[in-house]
């Protein structure tokens, strides 16, 4: 049978909808002249309306079929195999099914006749599916186009309808963004509930000892495992704090220089450079931290008689700070430049110097935006993993000494979940406990920062 690939169906849909675009445009003029009135809006809007209402729903239909179809076919074959031999249990059927699929795709070969038959059936089922999928989408498109075109009246404001359609699309996009976030949080929440069934919440939140090594198989000899997150959280805080100590002043001051004082030529070079720097993968910073910064700090430490561990919070924090500088300065630069020139003129016109203007007018006016950019930077620092893995180590020590090696929440999550893991033991589940606490931690941080900046905000317009 004639199989229709997705891209081809797409092009047909486009053609059909375009047809209705022109068709609607034509018919509305005729309709209007037949009743001797003018259409309420330009014919173009009737055309757009027909196009939107035929093309997009058909596309959504097509996508829906594409996503759900293969699942459905698998289900049919599942019951087919079951009918062949009712005694099979479901995991065995799954096995056969995957064999069938692999044979059908030519990945493996077999001489089991039954499977070959099934595989052929499977292939033809897919061909049929592709055909009907294409046909269905095109029909849907054409039908909708016809209906919309037929129902269009010169007295109806098509411009509003187009607007309504666009608003719906914007709304749906916003909804998807919110729903997916909510879904992620929910899944995180339920997984962490599983962890908290096995481990006391208070012991987790207030525990001072983190050593997640437990026996995974019953015959293994290992310690009980203890999951107090304070040392890990402290590690995150320590490193983020060091990073922000580096990044906030340098980032902000360089932003102020760029936005207010730098000659435009200098700015033209620095701004793109900053944006490039912000795009460097963190793993690159990671080995800079591990291979350059950490040994350097240790040497300095040895020189002044301090014992700096070869993997230290200081090295990781410093390099993380350097990583974050371009973020803060690039974002803050935009925020500062968004302050209207009239405020600068007003201040200068009163005899203020440029510096006075900056810290008395510009920065207060840009304050909420500046807080926002710093907040983004803090989130990055808290979420940053690579640099810490490479430069700060894995040992969860309860310390605020920046010269020792520490670990962070994200690093622990990674080390708990990498490799072969089963999601049924307390060790791996504890990662979700860490995940949700990180989530709440950043959430609270955001709320505080937003409230503060709203309180201090100076609105200009």
């Amino acid at each position: 049978m004639f199989s229709l690939p997705l891209s081809f169906v797409f092009i047909i849909l486009l053609c059909v909808s375009l047809f209705f675009y022109y068709y609607s445009k034509r018919t509305i003029v005729e309709k209007a002249s037949s009743i001797g009135k003018k259409a309420k809006t330009l014919p173009v809007y009737y055309g757009q309306n027909a196009f939107l209402w035929s093309f997009f729903p058909a596309c959504i239909f097509l996508i829906f079929l594409t996503v759900s179809g293969p699942n459905y076919i698998d289900q049919i074959f599942f019951s087919k195999i079951q009918d062949l031999n009712p005694k099979f249990n479901s995991s065995f059927i799954d096995l056969i099914l995957s064999k069938v699929i692999n044979v059908a795709n030519g990945k493996i070969e077999t001489d089991d006749q039954k499977i070959i038959v099934l595989a052929n059936d499977y292939l033809s089922a897919f061909e049929k599916f592709y055909f009907y999928r294409g046909l269905g989408a095109v029909l849907c498109c054409a039908l909708l186009g016809l209906i919309v075109t037929a129902r269009q009246k010169p007295s109806v404001n098509a411009r509003d309808q187009v607007q309504f359609f666009m608003v719906s699309i914007f709304f749906i996009s916003a909804l998807i963004a919110i729903l997916t976030t909510a879904a992620i949080i929910f899944s995180l929440f339920f997984e962490s509930l599983r962890f908290f069934n096995l481990y006391n919440v208070f012991d987790f939140i207030f525990g001072l000892h983190w050593s997640p090594n437990v026996a995974i198989r019953t015959d293994q000899v290992a310690s009980e495992g203890s999951f107090g997150m304070i040392p890990v959280l402290l590690g995150t805080l320590l490193i983020s704090f060091i990073a922000m100590c580096v990044a906030i002043p340098i980032g902000l001051y360089s932003a102020i220089y760029l936005a207010e004082f730098a000659p435009s030529k200098v700015r033209d070079y620095i701004k793109p450079t900053l944006e490039i720097l912000a795009g460097i993968p963190t793993v690159v910073y990671g080995y800079f931290a591990a291979l350059t910064a950490a040994p350097f700090l240790r040497d300095i430490g040895a020189f002044v008689g301090l014992d700096v561990s070869s993997e230290s919070a200081l090295a990781a924090g410093l390099v993380m700070g350097i990583m974050i500088i371009p973020f803060i300065s690039s974002l803050s630069d935009d925020v500062i430049r968004a302050v209207p020139q009239s405020l600068r003129d007003g201040s200068m016109g009163l005899g203020a110097t440029k510096a006075e203007t900056v810290y008395r007018v510009i920065i207060p006016a840009a304050f909420p935006g500046l807080v926002g950019s710093i907040l983004l930077a803090v989130s990055r620092a808290i979420g940053e993993t690579m640099i810490v893995v490479m430069a700060a180590g894995l040992s969860a020590k309860l310390t605020v000494n920046p010269l020792e090696s520490v670990t962070t929440v994200t690093v622990q999550i990674v080390s708990l979940l990498t490799g072969d893991t089963e999601f049924d033991n307390i060790k791996t589940l504890s990662a979700f406990g860490l995940g949700i606490s990180l989530f709440f931690f950043t959430l609270i941080l955001n709320i505080i920062a937003l409230t503060v900046s709203r309180r201090l905000a100076e609105n200009y317009d």
Binding site: G349, L350, G351, A352, T353, N459
Partner: protein, 252 residues
């Protein structure tokens, strides 16, 4: 009458483009001088030369002399920041800082250290608001955001803000163009009242406004000073044909 500003052969260039061509003009003390002329003729540019606001624009080059009380304001002894404290400016669009009304007025006195304590500062703020004719409207809401006021009130806050620094000269660039007739009338009245103690230079597009408030009027055209004299004379018996055409609305 003593002369406050003496401009001699001033040329202004933006990059290569000449915006002001050889203008010489004396502005008299404690009097309102109006600058009129069609759009783009260089009124704002000239006005901004008087307090060196053009220094902020990189491409702007100025030649010639401008003397304030017989001292060259572009000379080596003059700091543009000090100059702007002596020659204040009010802009076309009201531009209050996004701070409270009180903080807006107190801004200048604070940076110039005009008040030694809070009481003096309050006095300055109240006096300035009084002079700007705004005190009755805002005395109960000095801690509200100035950006929440009406356009006319905002513009008077800006005038009060300029007055608070006790400048000798106030430059106004179309201060009423964003305001309705009533707010305009209030500001004109205010200008009349303060003109005894301040030298005011106002750019305006409204011939009636120039005629109402100013003692002297300068007519600019294409970067040149066409005619300068008593406002009465300019509006009744202009010497130059271009001036006549402009004030009778024959070209714009």
């Amino acid at each position: 009458m003593s002369i406050k500003f003496k401009a001699e052969k001033v040329d202004v260039f933006y990059n290569e483009k000449q915006a002001i061509n050889n203008i010489s003009l004396n502005i008299e003390k404690n009097m309102i001088t109006a600058l009129i002329g069609p759009s783009g003729c260089g009124k704002s540019t000239f006005l901004r030369c008087l307090n060196r606001m053009n220094d902020v624009i990189d491409s702007c080059k100025i030649t010639g002399n401008i003397l304030l009380d017989n001292e060259d304001i572009y000379g080596p002894n003059i700091d543009p920041v000090d100059l702007r404290a002596r020659v204040g400016m009010v802009f076309q669009k009201p531009n209050p800082f996004p701070k409270t009304i009180f903080e807006n007025i107190a801004y200048g006195p604070r940076i110039h250290g005009l008040a030694s304590n809070n009481k003096e500062l309050r006095e300055i703020v109240f006096n300035s608001l009084e002079k700007a004719g705004l005190i009755d409207e805002v005395k109960d809401r000095l801690d509200d955001q100035a950006t929440g006021l009406s356009g006319g009130q905002q513009q008077r806050v800006c005038i009060a803000r300029a007055i608070a620094v006790s400048p000798e000269v106030i430059l106004m660039d179309e201060p009423c163009s964003a305001l309705d007739p009533i707010a305009t009338a209030k500001i004109e009245e205010l200008m009349n009242e303060i003109s005894q103690s301040y030298t005011i230079v106002i750019v305006t597009h409204s011939m009636q406004q120039a005629a109402r408030v100013s003692k002297k009027t300068a007519f600019f055209h294409l970067g040149e000073l066409i005619e300068y004299g008593d406002t009465d004379k300019i509006f009744t018996k202009p010497k130059n044909q271009k001036t006549l055409d402009y004030i009778t609305g024959r070209f714009g």
